[in-house]
């Protein structure tokens, strides 16, 4: 039997709702609040049940409008590259600082999306990020933490 992607997503949502409801019932509330008309559990419990009912209906009822997605038209390679680069960016931003990590992230993203005009890629990464940082930090007075630039004395 072939299950449609929409019903599969609904099934995942059903599992999430069951887990959410289980966690909701296990929320520790104060003893005096245990039998109160409303405590920290009440709203999540309602939501858990609502999620279960809605996702079950979506699974059970026949689909009126089916969403067809042609997987041959989806660019999995580029999106996986972008997600990996973003994850690396998130992992290193605190260690090597905002300026270098962001500039490298932009440069790498341009490259993996197929860009090869090196000069433009450079301008739209390092000088662009520097200008943006100046706009935020220098002109708009929005604090931008960058331990590396602070260490080398560029930022105060």
């Amino acid at each position: 039997m072939r299950i449609s992607p929409t019903k599969f997503i609904s099934l995942l949502f059903l599992v999430l709702s069951v887990f959410y409801l289980y966690t909701a019932y296990n929320i520790q509330v104060f003893a005096f609040d245990e039998n109160a008309p409303f405590n920290a559990r009440t709203f999540p419990i309602y939501l858990g049940w609502a999620g279960i009912i809605l996702s079950s209906l979506k699974i059970i009822l026949p689909e009126k409008v089916t969403t067809e997605v042609n997987h041959k038209h989806l660019d999995y390679k580029s999106i996986i590259y972008l997600i990996i680069i973003s994850l690396i960016y998130a992992a290193v931003i605190l260690k090597i600082g905002y300026f270098i990590s962001t500039s490298l992230f932009l440069f790498a993203s341009y490259y993996f999306l197929g860009e090869r005009r090196w000069g433009l890629m450079f301008i739209l990464s390092f000088p662009f990020v520097a200008a943006f940082m100046y706009l935020l930090h220098g002109l708009l007075n929005i604090y931008l933490r960058d331990p590396f630039l602070k260490y080398i004395g560029v930022m105060g």
Partner: protein, 499 residues
């Protein structure tokens, strides 16, 4: 009211704020013009920049961005037949055929004049309606607010989901679930944090908006990159033609604008409806109003067909501010983002905003009008140049959107957990979008989640745990009956189509 208008004008007409409206309109036009990116993304991307501003200036910037993005959406609809936002889909029906006939400049001018006129008329309605409704809404109690929020969430699910009501309702529940993460507002008990300290304060609203709109839209554009239906179309920017509108065309617009403005404003006020429905209804209504000869021109470059949806979508934008400013309950995804921004500034919109922060209340209303003037005077002549942004390759565009999204989150917390969380949510959102699970209901539910729990708590405590509060007050009952009607209509239409 005159005093309020003067307060609003004095705030909105300060040099900084005029500059902000101009910057906002310009940035909004550019972002809104890019297919796939709409006002919600445009406003979300602006949130980090407003951190350093005072609330009025920040909101004025966002109001400018909102109008600019709607105008930009019309531009890509007319030039490329690729609407930047759903609200401008109907614009493409007659705008694109005009562009193909070499009258792109004229189509853009008609769109701009209609938007301006629609915005002007609806701004007057807003000036009158908002303070009156503020006074009325002071009579609202917790059960009424709770019912109103249920109505808003049901309505946005019914209207924004292209007939996929259950999917939209699932997104509502998901949004409410995400809103429950973190400390309970009354007891401070932590919920759904799984002992992770980073989740104790809950998930940030900016993070959710950035993940489900800005970042997810960027990923979707890349993901669908090989899809021939979504491939970037080319247009000769040198062949835009004249932007002059002749007398006959002006008369046609003059007939269309008043009725479309009224319809657009009324639809905009309704929770969940908004610009998309307003523009389609106005298009349909206009087709019924015109004579047989004009009717034949619809879909082939009709002035009425272009002017009606453009007028209505701008009027609906103003209308959608009515429930936000007077009740504190946003009626659409975009105003939900605005509500999040207001809360970020420490301002709780609602009936008392009119009394406690009149300068914000009025300056937002006045800045909308100034924004429309800016769009007409500055953006229209610049369209041939601004339109070149459509030629920016996605290889540069997408990384820059990701960069703005990540920067917005990093500026908030200087914590990479939030960036990881944003990437995770955006990947899930990208797949959900692929299968037509709408995101605006999720955003609206996330924004309203805390308030909804709070009003339910109060209602249940007052009624000692009994559900009687749902029908004790006539206002609550009426609102709930409207909600039941919407749900009933969805069920009925499902069975009708099946049979």
């Amino acid at each position: 009211m005159i005093e309020g208008i003067l307060i609003g004008l004095s705030t909105a007409l300060s040099l900084t704020n005029i500059l902000m409206v101009m910057v906002g309109c310009f940035a909004g036009t550019i972002i809104g013009m890019l297919p796939g990116l709409g006002p919600m993304t445009a406003i979300a991307l602006m949130i980090p920049i407003t951190y350093g501003f005072d609330p009025s200036t920040g909101l004025i910037l966002m109001a400018g961005v909102y109008y600019g993005a709607v105008f930009g959406g019309s531009t890509s609809s007319i030039l490329l037949n690729a609407p930047g936002i759903p609200g401008t889909v109907a614009t493409a029906f007659d705008g694109y055929p005009m562009a193909q006939q070499g009258k792109a400049g004229k189509a853009l001018a008609i769109a701009a004049y209609s938007s301006f006129a629609g915005g002007t008329i609806s701004a007057i309605f807003l000036l009158v309606a908002a303070p009156s409704l503020s006074k009325v809404s002071l009579a609202f109690r917790s059960p009424d607010y709770f019912a109103l929020m249920i109505l808003g969430l049901t309505a946005i699910s019914a209207f924004s989901s292209k007939g996929q009501f259950l999917k939209a309702m699932m997104m509502v529940v998901l949004g409410l679930m995400l809103a429950t993460v973190g400390q309970d507002s009354l007891s401070d008990i932590t919920r759904f944090t799984f002992n992770n300290m980073n989740l104790t304060d809950g998930i940030s609203f900016v993070l959710i908006v950035m993940a489900t709109f800005a970042m997810s839209e960027a990923l979707t554009i890349i993901f669908r990159g090989k899809d021939p239906n979504s491939a970037a179309k080319q247009i000769s920017l040198t062949e835009l033609g004249s932007i002059k509108v002749n007398k006959e065309e002006t008369i046609k617009m003059a007939k269309t604008i008043p009725r479309s403005s009224i319809l657009g404003f009324l639809i905009g006020v309704l929770p969940g409806a908004g610009a998309t429905i307003a523009s389609f209804l106005a298009y349909g209504m206009e087709r019924n109003y015109v004579n047989e000869e004009e009717k034949q021109k619809f879909g082939k470059g009709s002035i009425h067909g272009l002017s009606a949806p453009e007028t209505a979508n701008n009027a609906a934008c103003s209308g959608s501010f009515v429930p936000l400013l007077t009740l504190g309950i946003p009626g659409s995804g975009t105003t939900a983002v605005m509500l999040g921004a207001l809360l970020g500034f420490g301002i709780q919109p609602g009936p008392r905003l009119y009394q406690t922060n009149p300068e914000i209340f009025w300056s937002v209303i006045m800045s909308m009008y100034i924004g429309m003037v800016v769009l007409l005077i500055l953006n229209l002549p610049l369209i041939p140049y601004i339109a070149r942004i459509l030629a920016v390759p996605r290889n540069y565009l997408i990384p820059l959107i990701l960069f703005f999204s990540v920067t917005g989150i990093y500026l908030m917390s200087f914590n990479n957990f939030d960036i990881f969380l944003m990437i995770g949510i955006s990947v899930v959102a990208t797949f959900l979008r692929l299968y037509d699970f709408p995101m605006p209901p999720l955003i609206l539910a996330f924004v309203l989640g805390g308030l909804m729990e709070e009003t339910l708590r109060r209602s249940l405590l007052i009624s000692d745990g009994s559900p009687n509060f749902l029908w004790d007050r006539p206002i609550t009952l009426i609102i709930l009956l409207i909600t039941v009607t919407i749900v009933g209509w969805q069920i009925f239409s499902t069975f009708r189509k099946k049979s």
